[in-house]
């Protein structure tokens, strides 16, 4: 059955050292992160969806069948846009001609966005007459995003658009991507191996490992699962949404209140009282104590209840899910500590959170 408001993809393809075998049913709006270590098949999946990689399977996007076992639309007939990791700007064309390359090839009746809107939105006006070779990494990526959007795509594919950029350029681009998420009605598939990018941008997540999908679903719920991906165990962690309730100017800290408690994080200048923020807490930064210890350096202590214990996710490591109010946290412990603490579901404990990072 083809559903009119989701993206359904089923692909199988085999290479010498690697096989991709996925079956996905993704929401038809918002950003879905495709997350996993390099070599897990994220990019291959994106290429299959674009038609750049031939694979057996089926693909339907918002009710339209792009690929069936009998028929597959060629790349240039698929109404999608692809933002490449290396930007792939055409070196012989000016920025303006790069931006209009796809726009001119879309029939006038199907255009939903004007060049002026895109120039304005991505701040491209000053770059239009320049050649791609003269642009900085961040500028190139903005042009690549603009060029993609100007085809009025029904699906946007982004392959690690930030991975080649330095920290500052990433910080410059992220707000544009957030605006994209908030104002574009089309689904975006965003390939990334960065937990912080995923935490900041995604609504949904697909976790991949060795060519297979190991978990998919809404971001917060999926991140808090303990049956995930054991090669991703180092990156395991949760994100939670809260509000700034207090700013301590003397110690440069801000307090975030969320459903289930409060956390202190390092103050950033743009944080103001009442602001909604998303923070990320990695499982490796959370430890568990049976009693409230005050004489220690960790600022964030939360009472919580043990919810689920996943022993030996990798040899010697136990992943514990805990609930503080309605909010789930993950803690990554050695199996010996888990055993010595005699953790069982329902046990009341204290979470000691060593680090809280702002995702927004």
């Amino acid at each position: 059955m083809i559903s009119p408001d989701t993206l359904q993809a089923r692909f199988q393809c085999h290479f010498d050292q690697f096989a991709l075998d996925v079956d996905l049913n993704l929401p038809g709006s918002g950003i879905t992160a495709i997350f996993g270590h390099s070599g897990c098949g994220k990019t291959t999946l994106l290429r299959c969806i674009a038609g750049l990689q031939t694979a057996q399977g089926q693909l339907s996007v918002l009710g339209e069948a792009w690929q069936t076992p009998q028929e597959s639309w060629p790349v240039h007939k698929r109404p999608l846009a692809y933002v490449f990791q290396d930007t792939s700007l055409f070196p012989h064309l000016s920025v303006r001609k790069n931006l209009l390359y796809g726009y001119r090839r879309v029939p006038a009746g199907q255009r939903k966005i004007t060049p002026e809107q895109v120039y304005d939105w991505l701040g491209l006006e000053p770059l239009l007459e320049r050649m791609p070779a003269g642009l900085s990494g961040g500028e190139r990526q903005r042009v690549a995003i603009g060029r993609a959007l100007l085809t009025s795509p029904r699906l946007l594919l982004m392959d690690e658009p930030l991975s080649a950029l330095d920290h500052q350029s990433k910080q410059d681009i992220l707000p544009y991507l957030e605006r994209l998420r908030d104002s574009l009605a089309i689904p975006v598939l965003y390939v990334s191996h960065s937990t912080s990018e995923v935490a900041r941008l995604a609504d949904h997540i697909v976790m991949m490992d060795r060519g297979q999908v190991i978990a998919q679903g809404p971001l917060q719920e999926t991140l808090a699962r303990t049956d995930q991906p054991f090669r991703l165990e180092e990156d395991a962690g949760v994100v939670l949404d809260g509000e700034i309730a207090e700013v301590d100017a003397q110690w440069q800290l801000s307090k975030v209140v969320f459903n289930g408690g409060e956390l202190w994080l390092r103050h950033h200048d743009h944080l103001t009282m009442g602001m909604s923020v998303r923070v990320q807490v990695l499982a490796r930064d959370v430890s568990i104590a049976l009693h409230e210890h005050r004489g220690q350096s960790i600022q964030n202590l939360l009472p919580a209840t043990v919810d689920h214990i996943a022993r030996e996710v990798v040899p010697g490591i136990t992943l514990v899910r805990l609930l503080a109010g309605d909010t789930a946290f993950l803690a990554r412990l050695t199996s010996r500590s888990a055993h010595q603490l005699q953790l069982t579901p329902g046990l009341r404990v204290w979470l000691q959170i060593k680090s809280v990072a702002l995702a927004d």
């Binding site: 240039h76 698929r78 846009a81 692809y82 490449f84 792939s88 055409f90 796809g102 879309v106 993609a148």
Partner: protein, 225 residues
Amino acid sequence: MSPEWQAVWLTLKLAGITTLLLLFIGTPIAWWLARTQHWLRQPIAAIVALPLVLPPTVLGFYLLIVMGPDGAIGQLTDSLGLGLLPFTFEGLVVASVIYSLPFTVQPLQTAFLSLNENLLEAAATLRASAWDRFFSIAIPLARPGFLTAAVLSFAHTIGEFGVILMIGGSIPGETRVLSVAIFDHVEALEYAQAHWLSAGMLVFSFVVLVTLYTLNGRFQPGVVR
């Protein structure tokens, strides 16, 4: 027109027409060679390169035979009412196209091989069909290759001698190109005329190569990958 200027004009006309034809014929061959995995790729590449290693007389000899009254091409052209090609200007064009083919195909093949595949893929996701990608991305980015191919083919055709002597002879206004004219002058011990034409060729070849290297040097920034 003096016989000397006639020879110069004929040479330029031959080289010009040959180069133009070669760009049309050589481009698809080079594109195919650069992109195919087909088992015929190596044999075809070898056939294209043959004129580089064969003595021009061998090539000329076989062309004379196949284009002659008993050859396959000769019978075809004859039955089409075109007459026979040996000892005509058209025959020289056909021979020159074959003789200079590697000088067109090889620079183009190198240029196509160095194209960044990602750019063609990006163009496909921007709604460009295969033809559209070829004309809007591949050809402009291979521009230095086209320039090299055109200049080398032109210059190589001008310098051609053995093949022409075999299938064209020395008919003024029809097949008596510069290199043949120089040979005739030397045979007749007219060293002064031979000097003029030879020096002219030398200067011309030098200017062509300098121009080529300068232009290609200037194009380099355009092909940053």
